[in-house]
């Protein structure tokens, strides 16, 4: 029972914040907050592939797109009808929409996971730069595919997606993806991933099935990117292939690298910083991208390990430092 306390507290906090924040914050700030949440999910999911397992994946936006369009298509066809049926059966709207959203997100995530599997396969034989290029290529191919499929809108975009995503759902997924990452990291499976990152040949020689773990990393990373895409779709209610270009992939990588590859808390921090900065830089809008580019270059030169390196922000460690006397007593 004690184990369920944590998740329960999180749920309650989310529900409270959900009803409160939207009323308190102005709509612009609220939207930024939602985008922060979505970017956290993207960064933490990419961290699993790049940071934990050391696989150069630079096409993450492709998975986000797959999830976005997949979930959107579900909602526009089946989901909406499901909600209508439920509401007609006296189910409260919030619950019906939540259920439909959950289903849409899972389906979108699964579609993205399938692509993750396909992209992960070449990772088995390619290393470093080559793998990076292949993942980039796949990301672009997914985008070009979307551009050419008329039924999902193509270059005109896909409008009219029901607005089912809100603070609660976005940050619930944030909590889930962080929990999954942390729990994996503190397990023998996480160690296997780190071993692959540090020395794949030695890991293999010790009995780690590197093939399986590399693919698993890609699939899980892609799944959550897809869910992030689904949340994105169901919040903005309109999708356009231009949201999922290589530039978006770079933005996500920048978050993982800035935070420190392998550090979950680092990815979270960096996602927050990098989502807020463009908003803060709005006054100097024309210089924004130049500043961003300079930041990447300077960061790689001066502190390539990012803010936190591979370490995690630990409440435990911070508290311990304040009570040295007690431990010695």
């Amino acid at each position: 029972m004690k184990r369920l306390l944590g998740p329960l507290v999180v749920l309650v906090v989310l529900v409270v914040l959900n009803s409160g924040l939207e009323r308190v914050l102005n709509p612009y700030f609220f939207q930024v907050l939602i985008l922060v949440g979505i970017n956290i999910i993207l960064a933490v999911s990419l961290n699993l592939v790049n940071g934990f397992t050391g696989q150069f994946s630079i096409g993450h936006a492709g998975f986000m797109a797959a999830g976005a369009y997949g979930s959107a298509m579900f909602s526009l066809t089946v989901g909406q009808r499901m909600v209508n049926a439920l509401v007609a059966g006296h189910v409260p709207a919030a619950a019906a929409e939540g259920a439909a959203l959950l289903l849409a997100l899972v389906l979108g995530g699964l579609l993205a996971a399938v692509f993750g599997y396909l992209v992960g396969l070449p990772s088995l034989r390619l290393r470093g730069d080559y793998l990076a290029i292949v993942t980039l290529g796949f990301g672009e191919i997914i985008r070009v595919l979307i551009l050419n499929i008329d039924v999902i809108g193509g270059p005109r975009g896909l409008p009219g997606i029901p607005k089912w995503a809100n603070f609660f759902w976005v940050f619930l997924v944030v909590a889930v993806v962080i929990a999954v990452s942390r729990n994996l990291a503190h397990s023998t499976h996480g160690r296997a991933l780190f071993a692959i990152r540090d020395d794949e040949i030695a890991a293999e020689a010790l009995g780690v099935d590197t093939t399986r773990y590399k693919i698993v990393a890609f699939v899980i990373g892609a799944f959550f990117a897809g869910v992030a895409g689904g949340l994105f779709a169901h919040y903005l209610c309109y999708l356009n292939p231009n949201s999922f270009t290589f530039l978006k992939s770079i933005e996500i990588i920048a978050m993982v690298v800035l935070g420190g590859m392998g550090s979950v808390s680092g990815s979270v921090l960096a996602a927050i910083v990098l989502t807020l900065s463009p908003e803060l830089l709005r006054p100097v809008k024309e210089y924004r991208m130049v500043i961003y580019a300079l930041m990447l270059i300077v960061l790689m030169i001066t502190r390539p390990q990012g803010l936190l390196g591979t370490r995690e922000l630990s409440l435990d460690r911070m508290l311990r430092r304040r009570r040295p006397a007690e431990t010695r007593a």
Binding site: R3, A179, V180, N183, L184, H186, S187, T188, H189, G190, R191, A192, F194, A195, R197, D198, D199, I201, A202, A203, E204, A205, L206, G207, V208, D209, T210, T211, V216, G262, T310
Partner: protein
């Protein structure tokens, strides 16, 4: 000789035009401590790579405990009971010593990834057991104090020990040590010799050892096989090998034989 645990039959490993290992017959009996020596480039590490599955042999058979293992993936062979250390230390630099060793215990895990994600009681117990196994191994090799230190921070001699601890944590039946004494001073080499004999006894291991330090080889190996340019040129006990003219010639050149 006891029942053969590892058997290489007519094994050849060819890279393009180069035969790194040519028609090698080698048998290691259960419980034996066998040395594999030869000049640099003789193909010794290639033999290890073939046995552990890094390469599939171009020709020939490799049998472990009666089972054909040639061409199997390296991780399957490790799970079957063969682990190794590397000529150039291959620790996981960003992991702690404990985690380095714990990775080797991974094949013995019981809890799957879903249990890990949900932190089920079964997973927690399994995880504790794995960490305990790793800790025990660190203690056996006198590295328990460094459990939480990053592997890359250790002095060289201790890094070599850590690699051995890690290989042992996989609970192998056959342990392959690739130049474990490289870079060690005479005192450290003596400690290593004692360590190898101790772990063989304690864990009922069979050990195949590549080494250049003749004191170590002659000191602990029961049987020695000598490779030169991929071919086995001699095999026998330490005294035989020490006096074998072909061995002397391979190491020191023809003049020494007639000197």
């Amino acid at each position: 000789m006891s029942a053969p645990l590892l058997q290489l039959a007519d094994c050849t490993m060819q890279f393009g035009g180069l035969k790194a290992v040519a028609n090698l017959d080698l048998v290691v009996g259960a419980g034996e401590l066998v040395g594999l020596i030869g000049p640099n480039g003789a193909g010794k590490t290639t033999v290890f790579n073939v046995v552990t599955g890094v390469y599939a042999p171009t020709a020939g058979r490799v049998t472990f405990d009666g089972r054909a293992i040639a061409g199997l993936k390296a991780n399957r062979i490790a799970c079957a009971g063969i682990t190794r250390t590397f000529q150039n230390i291959r620790l996981f630099p960003r992991l702690t010593c404990l985690d380095n060793v714990a990775v080797a215990a991974h094949p013995h895990r019981k809890a799957g990834m879903w249990s890990a994600v949900f932190r089920t009681p079964g997973f927690l117990a399994d995880e504790a057991a794995l960490r305990r196994q790793a800790m025990d191994m660190l203690e056996v090799l006198g590295l328990a104090d460094h459990a939480d230190a990053l592997a890359i921070g250790l002095p060289y001699g201790q890094q070599r020990r850590l690699e051995i601890a890690r290989a042992l944590a996989g609970k192998p039946r056959l342990l392959l040590l690739d130049e474990p004494a490289a870079g060690l001073n005479p005192q450290e080499s003596e400690d290593l010799m004692r360590l190898i004999l101790e772990i063989r006894r304690r864990f009922s291991l069979t050990i195949l050892l590549i080494e250049h330090d003749m004191k170590v080889v002659m000191g602990i190996c029961e049987r020695i096989a000598v490779l030169d340019y991929g071919v086995k040129i001699a095999e026998g006990g330490p005294d035989e090998i020490r006096r074998d003219p072909r061995v002397i010639e391979a190491y020191l050149g023809e003049e020494s034989v007639h000197a």
